[in-house]
């Protein structure tokens, strides 16, 4: 019973840790906009946390510059399982307009497993919420898979 309750509450209280890997700040602002009264992601239990140790969902924005790659990997390693990785915007998926630059490592799938990718430059807040909600469901599935 407790197992079920825990698994269920996984999707009800996903805490987000946001990593900016060289983004133009557009996506970051949209992510914060999601928490504002108009969109209010907190009604689903989303909350921004200050440290990866508390996080369930890691949101990556930006095209992953060479400088930030190590930091990204290290930070991701510090997140306790179960965790879900979400990419925000087109940059981490493809490199977007930065593609081909000598200092950009995108796409992020090359070195990190990505569960949900939210596309757009920048994605609309509605899309962000939909993506995060999806991530929360994946989180619950992961938890259930862990306990099987």
């Amino acid at each position: 019973m407790l197992k079920n309750a825990i698994a269920k509450s996984m999707s009800r209280s996903p805490w987000i840790y946001h990593v900016n890997t060289g983004s133009c700040n557009g996506c970051d602002i949209e992510l914060v906009a999601v928490l504002t009264p108009r969109y209010d992601a907190e009604r689903f239990g989303f909350k921004l946390s200050g440290t990866p140790r508390h996080a369930d969902i890691v949101v990556i924005s930006g095209p992953v510059t060479t400088q930030s790659k190590d930091r990204l990997v290290r930070t991701l390693a510090q997140v306790p399982e179960p965790k879900v990785v979400v990419t925000l915007g087109s940059c981490p998926q493809s490199g977007n307009v930065f593609k081909g630059s000598y200092s950009v490592e995108a796409p992020v799938e090359k070195f990190v497993h990505v569960d949900v990718a939210i596309a757009g430059c920048t994605p609309k807040p509605e899309a962000v919420i939909a993506g995060l909600y999806k991530a929360a469901e994946i989180l619950q599935k992961k938890r259930e898979a862990m306990t099987k």
Partner: protein
């Protein structure tokens, strides 16, 4: 052999041990260790054997040296008088001696001229034991003097290091001013009463104060206050505790300043029997409150482990003086209990500091860090000591501080005097600040990150851990079973301090006190509202539940407790994604907001603790002058 001889034999054993160590202990380490342990052990056993007759059966042992009994109601000979109050302090003294001797065996093994260490140590022990057992004021003065200059010698023992000779010199100057005041007071008393026996003095002086005896009171009070290091006499104490070997710092705070406190209690409650005069109460409470506040704020500003502890010693003595100065049985109980607890937890903390010093070679808080992984036993003992001194329940500091607060506020509401409310508030706030400064030590020395320099630190040997564990156990036990402490130690001691006539009668023959019209001090009745022992049942049940919760959540399918070594990023400290760097938040970086807000105060205090011995002497003389003026203004 009758037990009436035990007190004298105990004192003589220690002095004899010192003598034998000079003669025999020069070449063999085994011999001097044996002598130190044997002498302190015998003293401990002898005093412990007096517990039954004195503390449980309530007998007062009076003993005339060379059988010089009083003639025609005049006591000429030197008398030992062991009442429950003296016995209480004697027990503290012998326990401290024994534990310190055990600790010293390994602690000073790397020093040279160890025989002198033991000689001075045993003489210091003997003098303090003699001081609390004697019934003669001049004998008391002699013991104080022996205590002072053996203490000075021990302070300067590690004289190759930083500042120890300087501390010893300051200690000697201030200490000898204090002794001189005491001697002056004793001389005036002798001129007035022609006796040196405490019981007889008490009979003659009670309620019968001439200007000369008032002067004597002021001088002796100041002199003994110097020995108990209350502010503004505390300056040499801070230096001496810092630089003396830790086993000696423990002795200093465990019994040397307790000897001063004992002297003050004896002086105001028995010899002059002035405690029911409100002016004396006010004097002591103000001294106590100032002492605890200045002590703790200075401690917050320190960067050295032992110096911080030294200022805490001063601050805690403030609690004792305040509580004793309230002149209620609740206050006296709280004060004595706190004195005992202070011996336990401060001794423990100094031993921990010694362990850190031995293991790492420094006590500078800015150079330490992360020792908890290398020295787990020391860390646990330190935490117990720190929680005790900060008064967290269920440790012993809580029980005694609680009594102090209750006594102070009780005094406030029964007398309607706002001063005592203020004192209560100060006492409560000082307790939080004490906690703050120990958090500082905890973070700076034991937790946080291990500096590269301390990678191969090792835990101290078992023989050094043993006294630490014993004291930790005592800290917890006396906090949990305060009822026993109260029943067998505190109640007898309090009634002895208040029962002046009994003290006089058992020394000078029964009826003597009544003849001189001496009455016992009337102190308002004891009302304890100790917390219910049921709490402990509750605590255990809940700890059980909590433990269950932990097991529940840590096993198997639920989240697991993972530990890792090596450079795997998962177990590294979070540095915003950077590779973990050695960055330790040290002692001086803590409490920033507090320090900025109090910058002016700290600057003034730093200026006052200038380190110049002349200034320190000035404070002593000025305070003595204030006490004299106060005495003459309000005690006539």
């Amino acid at each position: 052999m009758s037990y009436v001889h035990f007190p004298v034999i105990a004192v003589m054993t220690l002095f004899m041990g010192a003598f034998l160590t000079v003669v025999l202990g020069k070449h063999s380490r085994a011999v001097r260790s044996f002598l130190a342990i044997a002498a302190s052990g015998i003293a401990f056993v002898l005093i412990a054997m007096l517990v039954k007759p004195v503390l449980i059966d309530g007998e007062i042992i009076s003993y005339w040296m060379g059988n010089w009994n009083p003639v025609n109601g005049y006591a000429i000979g030197i008398g030992y008088e062991v009442d429950q109050l003296g016995m209480f302090f004697a027990l503290l003294v012998v326990s401290t001696i024994l534990l310190s001797a055990v600790y010293s065996l390994r602690y000073i093994e790397r020093d040279s001229s160890q025989e002198f260490y033991y000689v001075l140590f045993l003489m210091l022990s003997g003098s303090v034991l003699g001081l609390v057992l004697t019934g003669d004021v001049f004998n008391m003065f002699i013991m104080i003097e022996i205590m002072t200059f053996t203490a000075v010698g021990l302070t300067a023992f590690r004289n190759t290091g930083f500042g120890s000779v300087e501390a010893a010199f300051k200690y000697l100057v201030i200490g000898s001013i204090g002794s001189s005041f005491t001697l002056f007071g004793i001389a005036i008393l002798y001129g007035q009463c022609h006796t040196l026996n405490m019981a007889q003095l008490s009979a003659m002086l009670s309620g019968n104060h001439s200007p000369a005896t008032l002067m004597a009171f002021a001088l002796m009070f100041t002199g003994l206050a110097v020995k108990s290091y209350i502010v503004p006499f505390h300056t040499p104490a801070a230096d001496a505790y810092t630089t003396a070997p830790s086993s000696i710092s423990m002795v200093f705070s465990g019994m040397v300043n307790k000897a001063g406190v004992y002297g003050i209690i004896r002086l105001v409650y028995i010899i002059f029997r002035t405690m029911d005069i409100p002016a004396v109460q006010t004097l002591m409470v103000i001294f106590g409150a100032v002492t605890m506040f200045i002590g703790v704020t200075m401690a917050l500003a320190q960067h050295d482990f032992k110096r911080l502890l030294a200022f805490h010693s001063i601050s805690q003595i403030g609690y004792v003086i305040t509580a004793v100065g309230l002149c209620t049985s609740l206050g006296l109980t709280g004060g004595l209990f706190h004195a005992m607890n202070h011996t336990l937890f401060k001794g423990l903390l100094f031993l921990c500091a010694g362990a850190v010093l031995r293991a790492t070679g420094t006590t500078n808080l800015d150079q330490l860090g992360g020792l908890s992984k290398k020295m787990p036993a020391t860390t646990v003992c330190f935490l117990i000591g720190a929680f005790s001194i900060s008064g967290l329940p269920p440790f012993n500091g809580f029980a005694s501080k609680w009594l102090v607060y209750q006594a102070a506020y009780d005094k406030a509401v029964t007398t309607g005097n706002f001063l005592y409310v203020f004192v209560t508030i100060v006492a409560l706030i000082v307790s939080v600040m004490t906690l703050a400064s120990f958090i500082k030590v905890t973070q700076a020395a034991f937790f946080g990150q291990l500096p590269e320099r301390l990678k191969d630190v090792e835990e101290v040997p078992f023989l050094m851990q043993l006294p630490m564990w014993i004291m930790s156990a005592l800290c917890v036990l006396s906090g949990v079973f305060y009822n026993f402490v109260d029943k067998y130690l505190l109640v007898p001691a309090v009634s002895a301090a208040l029962g002046v006539s009994r003290y006089i009668d058992s020394m000078m023959g029964s009826g003597y006190a009544a003849e001189k019209c001496v009455t016992d001090i009337q102190a308002s009745g004891v009302h304890f509202s100790y917390w219910n022992p049921m709490v402990w049942l509750a605590l255990f049940v809940i700890v059980l539940c909590a433990a269950c919760l932990c097991i529940l959540t840590s096993k198997g399918s639920r989240g697991e407790i993972l530990e890792g070594d090596g450079e795997d990023g998962k177990y590294a400290t979070f540095f915003s994604g950077e590779k973990a760097l050695p960055s330790h938040v040290g002692g001086s970086d803590l409490f920033w907001g507090f320090k900025t807000d109090w910058k002016g105060y700290f600057n003034i205090m730093e200026g006052l603790h200038s380190g110049v011995v002349n200034d320190y002497a000035l404070y002593v003389v000025a305070a003595a002058a204030i006490v004299v003026v106060f005495t003459f203004m309000f005690m006539r």
